[in-house]
Amino acid sequence: MAARASRLTRFNIAALALGFAFLYLPIVILVIYSFNASKLVTVWGGWSLRWYGDFFNDQAMLAAAWMSLRVALVSATAATLLGTLAAVALSRGGHFRGRTLFSGMLYAPLVMPEVITGLSLLLLFVALDAERGFWTVTIAHTTLTMCFVAVVVQSRLGSLDRSLEEAAMDLGCDPVRAFFAATVPLIWPAVAAGWMLACALSLDDLVIASFTTGPGSATLPIRIYSEVRLGVKPEINAICTLIIGVVTLVIVAASLASKLSSARGESAAPL
């Protein structure tokens, strides 16, 4: 009977084929043109790696990439710590005072327009007289991405079988030890997925970084954006392809890791 329910109609197949073509074709075209030897982006002049060479000689672009990478690593790590704590509090803390406000503060940034988040953080940094640059962008990204980590980890905690935690307590663990002995091994794929998501979001962010950074410390998206505004350049295609390559590698590694953990009887982490 289940077979009948999952039988695909021609309409279903067409929707899937067109949908995935729409999602992937632009990226595939971008990647192909990054290997174009011609200086004109739209004329095909044979395969070449010259634009990749250009990127690795572009000091300003490399500096921006390095800045982005540092921000992503530090902010994702901080966001994972804070987000996991928040998820634990929301799913294990019962009904503490201020819980509604707390969950409101955690879920709002997921959809809040970035111009608002960026502007408000900037005004705070100005009021605190903080020097804008690496740390202000890192704090801003931590604030945004910890909410995503919290959601990913919380949905894993919610689907967790509590009997293992209870068994650990019955065997004499105090709550903190039980948490590290029973809960952490079960949620680590979600925590890892949250860390990677935080990294990806931080590497991707243009608007919040534009508001919170200072002169002389542009992130990679800020550099790319100012180049893109001037028109299409083959070097940008090469940089974008490199970023896509790195992100794809990370996702494949993540899905392999979560498959490994699901092979040990755990379900894969969301996202």
Binding site: M1, A2, S6, F11, N12, L16, G19, L23, Y24, P26, I29, L30, V41, T42, L82, L85, A86, A89, L90, R92, G94, F96, F102, M105, L106, Y107, L110, V111, P113, E114, V115, I116, T117, L119, L124, V126, D129, T143, M146, A150, G158, R162, E166, M169, A178, F179, V207, S210, F211, G214, I224, Y225, V228, V232, N237, C240, I243, I251, S255, L271
Partner: protein, 304 residues
């Protein structure tokens, strides 16, 4: 039963760090936005000072304490530019969300009907573009839509058009960009509810004589409404404040509120008006934000 209660106390201690962090870096900043939106533009923006000069910010805040006024909001209401950009944002977001729903639903529905073993792969395929940079995906479309880009080449080769069509800097390009960027946000919540649907319900409808089409509208669609709501809010709210996509793909003759805010802040260096715009934008989105927050909370905490 014991674990639930014994975990409570440490979990409440664990909340302190993220709570303080979010209060300081999310809640308090809104206070500054409101305060500065009420300050005098002239006092808050001394001439000859670069935008990143800290002194300008300090005096802006000090000015906010001494001279609160509604001048900025009066300016927003009286100047057509701001009213129109608000209106345009809401219209663009509504139209885009409707297109997203119309495109995303059939895809999510198809995914939910794939054989169970294929579904994780399909979900992965939807998520991967979400991980690749937002800016890169818009840039990919600039490649395609530019004057001598791929789309015009194909249309010319097929003799659909006689001369290259202008795609960039039009609303069409902007809608394509928005739909492309937000499609995963629409598909994923739809798929999540559609995949949970019991096949036996459709069988019962069929047994009772409903055609597949009737069964869809009577059973599947009403049951997928929570997913529709989540997808619509997840797209609508950020699109209203969208900056990058309209900036890179749409024309400059009419702009959205996110662009206006950006312009006031970075180009005109008028922080008080930019803050007032942020307050207006937030007010526009308050109701959808509250509904979204409730949905999210119910979804994440409902099971417990």
């Amino acid at each position: 039963m014991s674990a639930r209660r014994i975990f409570t106390r440490p979990a409440r201690i664990a909340v302190l760090a993220p709570y303080l962090w979010m209060a300081l870096f999310f809640l308090v900043p809104f206070g500054f936005v409101v305060k500065i939106s009420l300050s005098q533009t002239a006092i808050a923006q001394p001439p000859y000072l670069p935008v990143f000069d800290l002194a300008a910010g300090w005096s802006a805040i000090k000015a906010a304490f001494v001279a609160l006024s509604l001048d900025n909001f009066r300016l927003l209401v009286s100047d057509n530019l701001y009213v129109l950009s608000c209106l345009r944002s809401v219209i663009v977001a509504s139209v885009s969300t409707a297109i997203l729903l119309a495109i995303g639903y059939p895809i999510a529905y198809g995914m939910a009907r794939l054989p169970k073993s294929w579904q994780p792969l399909a979900m992965m395929l939807v998520i991967v573009p979400f991980w690749t940079s937002f800016l890169i995906r818009i840039y990919a479309w600039i490649n395609i839509l530019q004057h001598d880009g791929l789309l015009n080449k194909i249309l010319l080769a097929l003799h659909v058009v006689a001369a290259p069509v202008v795609w960039l800097s039009t609303d069409t390009a902007m809608f394509v960009g928005i739909v492309y960027s937000y499609l995963p946000f629409m598909i994923l919540p739809l798929y999540a509810t559609l995949a949970k649907l019991q096949p036996s319900l459709l069988e019962a409808a069929a047994d009772l004589g409903a055609s597949p089409r009737r069964a869809f509208w009577l059973v599947t669609f009403p049951l997928s409404l929570p997913g529709v709501g989540a997808g619509v809010l997840l797209c609508f709210i950020p699109i209203v404040g969208e900056f990058v996509i309209p900036d890179l793909l749409a024309g400059s003759d009419s702009i959205m509120i996110g662009q206006t805010l950006w312009l006031e802040f970075f180009t005109n260096r008028d922080w008080p008006v930019a803050s007032a715009l942020a307050v207006v934008l937030l007010a526009l989105l308050l109701l959808p934000l509250l509904i979204y927050e409730r949905l999210q909370r119910r979804q994440l905490e409902g099971a417990q």
